[in-house]
């Protein structure tokens, strides 16, 4: 509480702990092709936050209700390596929510055309598994994870596949890319007191009252939302949070290169 009051005094003057403006991200850096074992991979740095994402492809049987669609899955590991606050063991609420926000952004924006992942209807489809692992957790994991997932999808290439034998040769990558139709970007806007800010430090996250993750595509339309925190938001607040997210997504899109 003490720290929060202190923080609010400074936010009033438009200053944050590390000297940034309220709507300013830390330095973003995206590195492609960081794991030879994965079909696609990327490391995203947002300030001191560092996240690695890998994409693995496999051929599976489709679900009965989507017989002509490939499968898409997002998983997040908040590794105990990345923060003293994370412990080994099964995924926590935080980790599951993170994975599901990233998943919905990709799924609902139709970034991957799942119909194009179909090999033989009702029998064989490609499954795309996106695994997000934190390397150093220093705030704003959601935006970094979503950006990393998109980067890893862009980096992915199909492995060689023999339809007759139904066998994948993971040692041989083709130059065929995934059917990526658009680029969903997640921007989380945080509310502390009466102030809205982006890309929080862990101290700012701890002091926050609410957050709203807004995933947008290039034309500015919104593909998914997630409100977090237990403080209610007014409709006007939601509108200005969405507006800020649309603006900031343009910067993040540039960072993808």
């Amino acid at each position: 509480m003490e720290q929060k009051n202190h923080m609010l005094k400074y936010l009033q003057k438009g200053i944050r702990f590390d000297g940034r403006k309220l709507d300013q991200y830390r330095l973003i850096n995206v590195e492609y092709g960081v794991s030879n074992s994965a079909e696609g991979s990327a490391i995203v740095n947002v300030g001191d936050t560092k996240i690695i994402v890998g994409v693995k492809l496999a051929v599976e049987k489709p679900f009965l209700d989507t017989a002509d669609c490939g499968n898409l899955m997002v998983n997040a590991e908040l590794t105990p390596m990345s923060s003293p606050d994370f412990e080994p063991g099964p995924p926590t609420e935080t980790g599951i929510e993170l994975a599901r926000i990233v998943d919905r952004g990709i799924r609902e924006s139709h970034a991957i055309d799942v119909h194009k992942l179909c090999i033989k209807e009702g029998e064989k489809v490609w499954s795309v598994a996106i695994d997000v692992c934190t390397l150093n957790a220093a705030g704003n994991l959601i935006d970094a994870a979503a950006l990393g997932a998109l980067a890893a999808l862009k980096d992915a290439r199909y492995p060689a596949y023999d339809l007759e034998k139904n066998a994948i040769d993971y040692g041989e990558k083709t130059d065929k890319k995934l059917p990526l139709e658009c680029q969903p970007i997640a921007v989380t806007v945080w509310k502390i007191g009466d102030y809205l800010l982006v890309d929080p430090l862990p101290q700012e996250e701890n002091a926050a009252d609410a957050r709203l993750t807004v995933t947008t595509i290039a034309d500015g339309s919104v593909a998914s939302l997630q409100k977090g925190g237990d403080c209610p938001l007014s409709v006007e607040e939601v509108d200005s949070m969405v507006g800020l997210a649309i603006e900031k997504a343009k910067e993040l899109r540039k960072a993808l290169g």
Partner: protein, 237 residues
């Protein structure tokens, strides 16, 4: 036992006593007390040390000394073939345990009663030899954390393919169609003592002796790389 007389060539053309290229770096995880990256060929290990810190659950605490805990984990996309299900396996449990045993002899945690030192080892990509790379990274991370240590620990896998003693097997060699023995060893470079030793496959007693000699020689080389990396953190250009 029959052995082929044909001249054995390593799939990637290396000499029998030649490792894949090694790179090492210290201080790669900012939140950790100590951390290191060790890469040998396409196998990359990252280790982070947290502690000495409060140890929970409390019944694990030892009032005489601190406890070391190691956690070996392959990232889901780091396997050679299909995705690895996250959440640990019998294999990762065992490797965590032997890693702990390999590192414990160099540590002195007498000054940290009731505390725990946690070592987390993660792999973004692998091509055989991951437990050895993990041990190399972990011992550097422990040194980087400033813990009292008697020595570093260096590790490498040696192998016996049809009677040919080679060092640092890659996946193609582990899966070689013939008689293959895979022998991961960890050694204390200053005393030459062995802190991890496993073998999968068949070897003669003499071959095993030769393999351990090669392992010892290679661990000395790895030790030099580890020392350079640790000093590199404090280098001023």
């Amino acid at each position: 036992m029959t052995k082929s007389n044909a001249i054995f060539k390593r799939p990637d053309g290396r000499a029998f006593d030649e490792t894949r290229p090694i790179t090492a770096k210290v201080g790669v995880i900012k939140n950790a007390q100590g951390s290191a990256m060790f890469q040998i060929g396409d196998t990359q290990a990252i280790a982070a040390v947290y502690g000495p810190r409060n140890l929970f659950p409390k019944f694990l605490q030892n009032p005489r000394k601190g406890i070391l805990r190691c956690f070996y984990n392959m990232m889901p996309f780091s396997g050679h073939g299909e995705r690895i299900r996250p959440g640990g396996s019998r294999r990762s449990k065992e490797i965590s345990m032997v890693t702990q045993n390999a590192l414990l002899p160099v540590l002195n945690l007498d000054d940290f009663p009731n505390a725990g030192v946690d070592v987390f080892i993660e792999f973004p990509q692998t091509d055989a030899g991951s437990r050895c790379a993990g041990i190399c990274a972990a011992s550097m991370a422990l040194a980087d954390a400033g813990l009292p240590m008697k020595d570093l620990v260096a590790a490498v896998a040696v192998g016996n393919i049809n009677g040919n003693i080679i060092v640092d097997l890659n996946y193609a060699e582990e899966a070689y169609d013939g008689q293959v023995a895979d022998i991961p060893v960890a050694m204390l470079p200053n005393s030459g003592k062995v802190t991890l030793l496993q073998m999968d496959g068949i070897s003669e007693r003499e071959e095993l002796k030769k393999a351990l000699e090669l392992g010892k020689k290679t661990c000395q080389k790895i030790y030099e790389v580890q020392k350079q990396a640790l000093k590199g953190k404090y280098k001023v250009d």
